[in-house]
């Protein structure tokens, strides 16, 4: 994992933008809103995908509120949701000083790290997401998730069948 100088690309259309105070009580309603927006757009077709997204959103938003802004309610966290044709991305920006990956991200393969009571967030996000782009000294991050290929094929196939039916109904085929 690295922290980059340049900001990440904006993928697709920005569907949602929120600025929230740094209090953890505001986290779950925001996550629910993001998940339902993604569901409406045809993402998260399975419970496992929904759970993966929920876990990752929880991690980044908690990190920003707790570690980035130290739960200081005068500081805000900016949240942007981008949706493209076959992918979605979430961008989280806090007002903190960022972080140093080596100091904050334990290696799960190291047995000694199993007994730590925190620090598993990045490992979880790396598993579920396709790209994690830290920038701004680590005070901002964007997570990207591609639509699973099998689901995309299924969607294309359903769309194709619907078009065939319409053409057949109006007598073109």
């Amino acid at each position: 994992m690295e922290i980059r100088i340049q900001p990440p690309p904006e993928y697709g259309e920005k569907l949602l933008y929120k600025e929230i105070q740094s209090t953890l009580d505001l986290k779950n309603p925001l996550i629910e809103e993001i998940l339902s927006t993604l569901k409406e757009k045809g993402f998260l077709p399975t419970e496992d995908e929904k759970y993966g997204a929920q876990l990752c959103l929880d991690e980044v938003i908690v990190n920003a509120i707790r570690h980035g802004n130290n739960e200081d309610s005068s500081k805000i966290v900016k949240v942007s949701l981008y949706v493209g044709e076959q992918l979605w991305a979430i961008r989280i920006e806090d007002e903190g000083d960022g972080f140093t990956p080596e100091e904050n991200v334990p290696d799960v393969e190291d047995e000694d790290s199993w007994e730590l009571e925190r620090g598993r967030g990045v490992t979880i996000m790396e598993h579920y997401m396709d790209e994690i782009w830290y920038y701004n000294n680590g005070a901002s991050v964007q997570l990207k998730k591609k639509m699973s290929e099998s689901f995309f094929k299924k969607m294309c196939s359903s769309f194709h069948k619907a078009i065939e039916k319409i053409l057949s109904y109006i007598g073109i085929r």
Partner: protein, 125 residues
């Protein structure tokens, strides 16, 4: 059997079973309450044989893992043992990703977890 906040507690001869009552354990207040309640149960007994039953749980955040690790260390310090059971596949995946499946003993259900604590029968003479 008794209920304590977010937990159901069953005290048996040599095993205590804690079951989570919530389907989703996601908000920080619930996680703190649940962790504190588990710690109280552990503190109340020396050398506890503890089973944590996840059957009701569909979602949990990684903060819960941290609290489980804390409880695990308390149990071990008191010379007890802690096992987990009834974990759904999506949650089990999180244990695997974080390698906690190697630290915790995880059994399919409560019955098997309780039986695993029973000492083998010894024949005398």
């Amino acid at each position: 059997m008794s209920q304590k906040g977010k937990l159901e507690i069953k005290d048996m001869k040599n095993v205590t079973v804690i079951s989570f009552l919530d389907v989703a354990i996601l908000d920080e207040t619930s996680i703190k309450e649940l962790g504190d309640e588990m710690e109280e149960v552990v503190k109340s007994k020396e050398e506890i044989n503890l089973v944590v039953n996840f059957t009701n749980v569909d979602y949990l955040s990684s903060a819960v893992l941290g609290r489980l690790v804390k409880v695990f260390k308390m149990v071990r310090k008191q010379k007890g043992k802690m096992k987990l059971c009834g974990i759904k596949s999506s949650i089990l995946q999180v244990f695997k990703i974080t390698r906690l499946d190697k630290m915790f003993e995880i059994l399919p259900d409560e019955d098997k977890a309780i039986k695993s604590f029973k000492k083998p029968f010894k024949l005398w003479g």
